[in-house]
């Protein structure tokens, strides 16, 4: 195409890592360029600062964490919405020492949970499984307290904390992926401004499509260039970590599972969103009566884009 590529900025919510692989893949292998996009990826940091940059127009797309935050945006009247959900399952896990085998056993353990976790999924654990706030100690993104206290468990991302624990603790922890126990939010979404959806749906569509193709290629194709780019943005990361993350994403079907078989990566459905919202209302994480449907649109996904790239 002869026209100049559109400049867009995509903000992530953490430093570059394999969990952002698909986006780096699309950038590295020229998929974005092919779709007429000149993309800049702006890595986030320990605090989700890039998030507010979206509504004020400093960035065009933002990598959202989970749907709870997107529904909060509706409550606060922030004009943004989710246009694609790259992770079918939230990678949030509870990590326990190897002696724990059953999810129910966690109820008697000390749990290291972050402030954000306590304000969100933990309320659901209280409601659905009878966990209690009294067993919680704060998690500050450092696994040492968990390693020291044999009678504890901690929160984490399936793709990262278990690796550090295996390396430093020298044992394989038991992992409970919350998604597998009923925490059915989408994760690693693409959010954008409502106004962009209305005024330039074509741009949004191109970005969503290219990102989905990027994810297929990252998981199933040659991801060397993407990993090089990730390492450039974050020199701390090692090949072993990346390999671990990709393996876990595949093993637990984080990206490609369930609806994606028919609808392709990035899929979202009204039914699942309704189910999630109702569960959260029941757990008192969210208020009843929120027009949660305003938090997302199915306009750009479920088109089976890139499905052919998945292994048969």
């Amino acid at each position: 195409p002869a026209r100049a590529a559109d400049k867009v900025t995509f903000g992530t919510n953490w430093v570059a890592q394999a969990e952002h692989g698909g986006f780096y893949q699309a950038l590295a292998d020229g998929t974005y360029a092919k779709y007429g996009l000149n993309v800049t990826i702006l890595p986030g940091g320990p605090q989700a600062n890039n998030r507010l940059l979206l509504p004020v127009g400093k960035i065009d797309f933002y990598m959202g964490g989970n749907m709870l935050q997107s529904i909060s945006s509706v409550v606060e009247d922030i004009p943004t919405q989710v246009v694609a959900a790259l992770f079918q399952k939230d990678p949030q896990v509870l990590i326990a020492h190897p002696d724990v085998t059953e999810f129910e056993q966690l109820k008697t353990r000390t749990l290291f949970i972050s402030k954000e976790g306590l304000a969100s999924y933990y309320q659901w654990l209280v409601d659905a499984y009878g966990f209690s706030e009294d067993q919680v100690k704060p998690y500050t993104f450092n696994a040492a307290p968990f390693l020291v206290d044999k009678n504890s468990a901690m929160q984490g991302y399936i793709t990262s904390e278990p690796y550090a624990i295996e390396q430093q603790g020298g044992f394989k922890p038991t992992l409970f992926l919350l998604a597998d126990y009923g925490f059915q939010t989408y994760a690693t979404t693409i959010e954008t401004r409502n106004e962009l959806v209305k005024q330039n749906p074509d741009l949004v569509q191109r970005f969503v499509d290219a990102s989905i193709i990027g994810w297929y290629n990252y998981l199933y194709g040659d991801n060397a260039k993407a990993n090089a780019l990730i390492k450039q943005d974050n020199p701390e990361i090692t090949d072993a970590m990346i390999a671990f993350s990709i393996a876990k994403m595949k093993e637990y079907g984080i990206v490609d599972s369930g609806d994606t078989a028919t609808l392709g990566i990035g899929a979202m459905t009204d039914a699942r969103m309704k189910g999630f919202y109702d569960t959260m209302v029941k757990a008192k994480v969210l208020e009843p009566g929120i027009d949660y449907a305003k938090s997302y649109t199915l306009q750009f996904v479920n088109k089976g884009v890139g499905k052919e790239l998945a292994p048969k």
Binding site: Q69, S73, E76, K115, A119, V136, T140, A144
Partner: protein, 260 residues
């Protein structure tokens, strides 16, 4: 320090002007509340959520006051130790500096291994607040009038007497200056400590309210919490200034204000 009503009206006026400017900026630029909420909206939120917010403020204030008290105790005790001999000061000051510059936010997780959350928060606030007390008090203790020191020596004053009756009064204006700095620092120390130690859930301080509000993108509530912190800070400062005035007004230049 005049007792005229201007003494109180002017600062209030300036604050009012500031709030007005804030309101105007929001109005004229038509800023949405998630970028900068108007003062009215913040106030509304404050009134609406007063139960939760004030409870949190009390928690934070409690931590602050205890941390400040401990900072005073620790800072003054260390300063006294330092004042006992220059060699002690040289030897131990580096450790005090290390304590000061250690970023609590980074070591809080390590503290949590051995301490309860509350104790860790307190320790964070203490670490931040103790240094100004120590530093200013040490400076004050070293600024004793040499003639008075000689007088004490001649009168056979014990170490302890010289300390209590000469060095401490001399250091008082410096100490009180350090205390005013430490007051605000204890407050932000408490907030940072709460954030760093990740204290959360019910019965937690303003920091959790801020993080929670940020997570929910409830920016007016975040500002309401910030407002409470500012008010707490001003309150602490005012109390410490009053204390300083009460103690020094009869003899120290800084509180006499050039009266003739």
């Amino acid at each position: 320090m005049s007792t005229s009503p201007l003494r109180w009206l002017l600062p209030l006026g300036v604050l009012a002007a500031l709030v007005l400017a804030w309101a105007l900026v929001v109005k004229l630029n038509n800023l949405p509340p998630y970028v900068l909420p108007a003062p009215g909206v913040v106030l509304e939120t404050l009134v609406e959520d007063r139960a939760v917010l004030f409870a949190s403020m009390l928690v934070t204030l409690r931590t602050t006051v205890i941390a400040l008290a401990l900072a005073v105790a620790g800072g003054v005790a260390l300063a006294l130790l330092f004042a006992s001999a220059r060699i002690v000061e040289f030897s131990l000051f580096p450790i005090a500096v290390i304590l000061q510059v250690t970023p609590v936010i980074a070591v809080a997780p390590l503290m949590l291994i051995y301490l309860s959350t509350d104790a860790a928060v307190l320790l964070c606030a203490w670490i931040v607040a103790f240094f100004p007390v120590l530093s200013n008090t040490t400076l004050g203790l070293n600024s004793v009038d040499p003639n008075l020191r000689d007088l004490f020596r001649l009168s056979g004053a014990t170490r302890w007497q010289t300390l209590a009756q000469l060095k401490l009064p001399t250091a008082l204006p410096y100490f009180l200056g350090g205390l005013r700095i430490a007051g605000g620092l204890a407050l932000i120390g408490a907030v940072v400590g709460e954030i760093a130690a990740g204290s959360a859930g019910q019965g937690s301080g303003l920091a959790f309210r801020i993080v929670e509000s940020a997570y929910r993108l409830n920016i007016p509530r975040l500002f309401a919490a910030l407002l409470l912190i500012s008010l707490t800070g001003i309150l602490i400062y005012a109390v410490l200034s009053l204390l300083s005035w009460l103690v020094l007004r009869r003899w120290h230049e800084s509180e006499l204000g050039g009266r003739t």
